[in-house]
């Protein structure tokens, strides 16, 4: 029996709770590479999201101070047993790490122990300024030198700074390429993204080029992978009542896009990759 540790990193509205709920449904009722050995002893952390999904609507926002865990007793295809603690928390906590430039002891010890980091990025929620260079070229002749600039950071810079801070407090150096911790980037709500025929890696490079370059430079190719994730398969609102969810069950909804571009309904695949069970 092994007890691997992972950390789940995702901001507000990046879909952590929905992924957890859907992952649980899959592991229990429609297993792929990983399946549950028993029903977890305590399901209270997932209670709300499971209820909502069964009725075809979206779960509410996880409150700021929340920090809960569900212990998932898992078994992979080779019969290896593993106990995974799946965390759920309010995404603002990650925002606080960035704005206050400090990482609480609780987070730090998780980061240090974790063998794998699971990063959830919802591309549509990320603000970038891709046309800034063109703007620089087409500037008006009159210098507007006195208007103060507050301005939010470009999402590229914000993610890189956040990753750098987390790597630093976890004691992970960046001078040589990393093999540990393994990094899986899940581009969540992938149904919102017009991916055309691009692989998830290319989609990340298109939307967040600096983050893609940073991840490429820091991890060895074997130690990182980039996935598309649509935990629900479509957009659910808190008020919607999607027939497919109600009739077929949420465990048959949602999909991932593997790093090589294949669509797969097994939502546990990124996790299996992270745990080396693939």
């Amino acid at each position: 029996m092994s007890t691997p540790e992972i950390v789940l990193l995702g901001g507000s509205y990046s879909g952590k709770t929905h992924y957890a709920g859907q992952l649980y449904g899959r592991l229990l009722r429609n297993p792929g590479l990983l399946e549950l050995r028993d029903t977890p002893a305590d399901l209270s952390a997932l209670e709300e999201v499971l209820n909502c999904l069964e009725n075809g609507h979206a779960a509410g926002h996880t409150s700021v101070g929340t920090w809960t865990e569900v212990l998932l007793p898992l078994k992979d295809k080779r019969g290896h047993m593993l106990d995974l603690r799946w965390p759920d928390y309010g995404g603002e906590q990650l925002q606080t790490v960035f704005s206050e430039r400090q990482v609480t002891e609780n987070w730090r010890s998780q980061l240090c122990q974790a063998e794998g980091w699971l990063l959830l990025i919802r591309l549509r929620k990320e603000t970038t300024y891709p046309d800034a260079l063109a703007e620089l070229a087409n500037r008006s002749a009159d210098g507007n030198g006195t208007t103060a600039r507050a301005g939010a950071w470009d999402a590229n810079a914000r993610w890189v700074e956040l990753l750098q801070m987390l790597l630093h407090v976890a004691g992970v150096g960046t001078v040589s390429r990393r093999e540990q911790p393994r990094l899986a980037v899940l581009l969540s709500c992938y149904d919102e993204v017009t991916a055309d025929d691009l692989l998830p890696t290319q989609v990340l490079a298109k939307h967040l080029p600096l983050v893609a370059a940073f991840i490429d430079s820091l991890w060895t190719p074997d130690a990182m992978s980039i996935w598309g994730l649509s935990a629900l398969g479509c957009l659910l609102e808190p008020s919607s009542d999607d027939e497919n969810f109600i009739n077929q069950g949420p465990e048959h909804q949602g999909w991932v896009v593997t790093p090589d571009g294949q669509k797969d309904s097994d939502l546990s695949r990124p996790l299996a990759w992270l745990l080396g069970a693939e």
């Binding site: 430039r101 990482v103 703007e135 620089l136 500037r139 301005g151 700074e161 600096l210 430079s217």
Partner: protein, 321 residues
């Protein structure tokens, strides 16, 4: 936090991590030295949290000490008169990296000064009709001993990692230094010239153009700077950047400067840059970054001949062993 640590290189009072690596800075001997004995006994419940040793702003001397042990750093001195386009070149390079472009055949691998980069880049961004995008404003003239340093790390295809430091110094430093080498206001310029691995010198095409009646002054300032730098540059990679290239400088002036450059710094390259062509900004930086990537090899030590007698020349048989 009002007090600061007795260690001058520690910026824990500004929200950075303890310089000596204590998780809780109150446990550090350097910090305790600031506290009166009686207070040390009082049990203050503290919530431990981990911090990082950089703030995101431009780096100073203490920060270099923190950064340089991890690998080769390349310090690029960006020299030029006031408003010659130094900051614009830096911003343009950051914006190119932000688009995922590679620089000197290497890709972005982190930065300790993202806050400073972002505040420069914010000037070029359009997020409000009341604030049209413009160039970053003038770098304030400080009397600091060291210019603010902007940083990014790069890694090339072979896996080689470099910390690149770029100076964002006010133009007045160099104008002053060119005139009077030991001027007190030019301390920062002297530091830079002593320590830089490579140089970019800016020629402002707009100021050298026919339309500017003071082009003679501009030419004089630039030539003085080249002549001054020529005494110090040795064999370090150097490039003269014809900035704002969309304006044509006066042909005679351009020829005179090129001639001066060839005389003072024969190995220097010339490169054009213009914001109309964003990749010309990265090309300008690459002109010096590429040759500085590999550290110059150490020279053989040649022992000087002090006396001509055979006895003095004998250095023991082990010399040839």
């Amino acid at each position: 936090m009002s007090e600061r640590c007795t260690n001058p290189n520690c910026f824990v009072h500004e929200g950075e991590s303890c310089d000596l690596g204590e998780m809780e800075h109150t446990q550090c001997a350097s910090w305790s030295a600031t506290m009166p004995e009686t207070e040390a006994d009082a049990e203050i419940p503290v919530v431990t949290s981990a911090r990082v040793p950089w703030s995101g702003s431009a780096l100073g001397l203490a920060d270099i000490a923190n950064l340089s042990p991890r690998g080769r750093t390349i310090l690029i001195g960006v020299l030029g008169a006031h408003d010659a386009g130094k900051t614009t070149l830096l911003t343009g390079n950051y914006l190119q990296l932000l688009q995922g472009e590679s620089l000197a055949n290497a890709r972005f691998a982190g930065s300790r000064t993202l806050g400073a980069w972002e505040s420069l880049a914010a000037w070029t961004r359009f997020d409000d009709a009341a604030r049209p995008p413009s160039f970053p404003p003038h770098t304030p003239r400080g009397t600091g001993r060291v210019p603010g340093l902007l940083h990014f790390a790069l890694r090339n295809a072979e896996g080689e990692f470099r910390d690149v430091l770029l100076t964002d110094a006010p133009g007045e430093w160099f104008t002053r230094w060119a005139v009077k080498e030991d001027a007190p206001e030019a301390e920062g310029a002297r530091w830079l010239v002593r320590n830089a691995d490579a140089f970019l010198i800016f020629a402002d095409c707009k100021r050298l153009a026919d339309s500017n009646p003071k082009r003679g002054t501009a030419r004089n300032e630039l030539r003085q700077l080249l002549e001054r730098l020529g005494n110090h540059v040795a064999n370090r990679p150097t490039a003269l950047v014809w900035a704002k290239d969309d304006v044509e400088p006066n042909a005679d002036i351009r020829a005179a400067i090129a001639q001066g450059l060839a005389k003072q710094i024969p190995h220097a390259l010339e490169v054009n840059s213009s914001t109309n062509q964003p990749d010309s900004l990265t090309k300008a930086l690459e002109t010096v970054l590429c040759p500085a990537w590999i550290a110059p090899q150490a020279c053989h030590i040649v022992e000087p001949i002090l006396h001509q007698q055979p006895f003095a020349a004998f250095r023991g048989h082990y010399v040839h062993a």
